[in-house]
């Protein structure tokens, strides 16, 4: 597949079968787009449509174009050619394998070198509390460890020009670090989120309701100021969380 310079969402229908309120969304490399909306409003479905490069063949009837064209079947299905990485909401692995075995297999499926395996584990361990070992069974990892491993896997083995992230704020991993890791420069990134910090860190956000896209909002300068404030507050919250996790006391409020 050639370089990706545009991802296009041709909108379809919502849960009631009515047309979505937006016709088409164009996204360029380097853009981080948020997807917001109440639970059940179709945010994850939108992400899945993009991951599958749907061609009007899903219940939403959306079409996903790359560089203005419908991608061929190979690109849609073969992980060696697919250029999309997805962090879904899944919190656990079901595969009965060790971490190392699994990552080696995944590296093979994506045509990557096996030295990526060690890097994935190292990066995952910067996002999670208790460290993950290569010999661990995948199924015994906690939700946070699994999520950290999935995120690191996306950054290294599935490293792709299009990155889809579904609620990274869940599972107690370091969300800002994880987003920074996944949203490397020059990528097209879509982030489903309920978190105001993450939502306001994006350039534009897609608003969902009843399974359909309702509008696309560009983050205003005022919102960017609010975002900076929120980041400071959030970092304070995170430092408190760390202290509490380590068994410390937080008796004095630190003014931020």
């Amino acid at each position: 597949m050639q370089d990706i310079h545009e991802l296009t969402i041709i909108c379809g229908i919502d849960k009631s079968g009515a047309k979505e309120d937006v016709e088409k969304i164009r996204i360029c490399p380097g853009e981080i787009i948020g997807i917001v909306g109440p639970t059940g409003s179709g945010k994850s479905t939108l992400i899945c449509d993009i991951e599958q490069l749907s061609q009007g063949d899903t219940p939403t009837r959306r079409k996903i174009l790359i560089n203005g064209e419908a991608p061929g079947r190979d690109i849609r299905t073969d992980p060696r050619k697919k250029r999309i990485a997805q962090l879904s909401q899944n919190m656990h692995f079901l595969a009965d394998m060790t971490v190392e075995e699994f990552l080696r297999m995944h590296a093979k499926s994506r045509n990557r070198n096996f030295d990526t395996v060690e890097r994935v584990i190292d990066i995952a361990n910067t996002l999670t509390g208790e460290s993950i070992q290569p010999g661990h069974q995948l199924t015994i990892l906690s939700g946070g460890q699994s999520r950290a491993l999935m995120a690191a896997d996306i950054a290294v083995i599935s490293d792709s020009p299009i990155v889809l992230i579904d609620e990274i704020e869940n599972a107690g991993i370091k969300k800002q670090e994880a987003l920074k890791l996944l949203a490397a420069e020059g990528k097209i990134v879509l982030v489903v989120t309920h978190d105001p910090v993450l939502a306001l860190m994006t350039k534009r956000r897609i608003v969902m309701r009843n399974g359909g896209i309702r509008q696309v909002i560009t983050t205003t300068p005022g919102e960017m100021n609010v975002c900076n404030e929120l980041v400071r507050l959030d970092n304070y919250m995170m430092s408190l969380r760390d202290t509490i996790r380590q068994g410390g006391l937080v008796e004095q409020a630190v003014v931020v």
């Binding site: 899945c48 991951e51 599958q52 063949d57 899903t58 219940p59 299905t77 992980p79 990485a85 997805q86 962090l87 879904s88 899944n90 692995f93 079901l94 595969a95 009965d96 394998m97 699994f102 297999m105 995944h106 093979k108 499926s109 994506r110 999935m150 896997d153 996306i154 083995i157 599935s158």
Partner: protein, 232 residues
Amino acid sequence: MKLVVVAGTPGSGKTSVLMHTIRSLKQVGMSPAVVKIDCLWTDDDKRFERLDIPVRIGLSRDMCPDHFAIYNTDEMLKWAREQDAGVLINETAGLCLRCAPYPDGCLAVCVIDVTTGPNTPLKVGPLLTTADVVVATKGDIVSQAEREVFRERVNEANPGCRIIEANGLSGQGASELAEVISETPDVGKELTLRHNAPLAICTLCTGEMRVAKEHHMGVLRHIDGFTEYRGE
């Protein structure tokens, strides 16, 4: 007329995937008929009937369901021709992984559940290794990495098969499967199985209930792999 044989592990979503696929087939003007083979009980005929297509069920009872399906293939084809069907879809019970009920000249579809883990493609044997199409279901429950590893394992077990990721709830993959079905050539006259059915020619096959070795005759295999013929 085309013949499609759909096999797969129990609960993998064969019927759900087929329901969506049949809708897609009807949309492109094909007339499918379905025969569902099960062992003891099924109400899948009622599910299929809602699609307004000819449906027939076969219960194998105490006979091996795959032997039953294979033995009745001619009869099923005859019935489907009488219904003016363009394609006969035979959904098997799929209980025994030793078997692959696919004749040559059919489209062999193996439905397999991704949540059973990436070692499953290595375990299911000829059911998967002799299939033309492997339909991987329930991929929405696992991570993208796990789906890709599963796919890699299917590729290792059956290089050259076409893998379709499907979802029995949303209908994902159904239009792709329908497309493959519509491109399948018509079934020939002299059908031969792609893989032999499991060996079972012994007193147990004819209803012997006693367990002790002395009561059994026929072609029997010991736990160490030694195979012998006992009898007259």
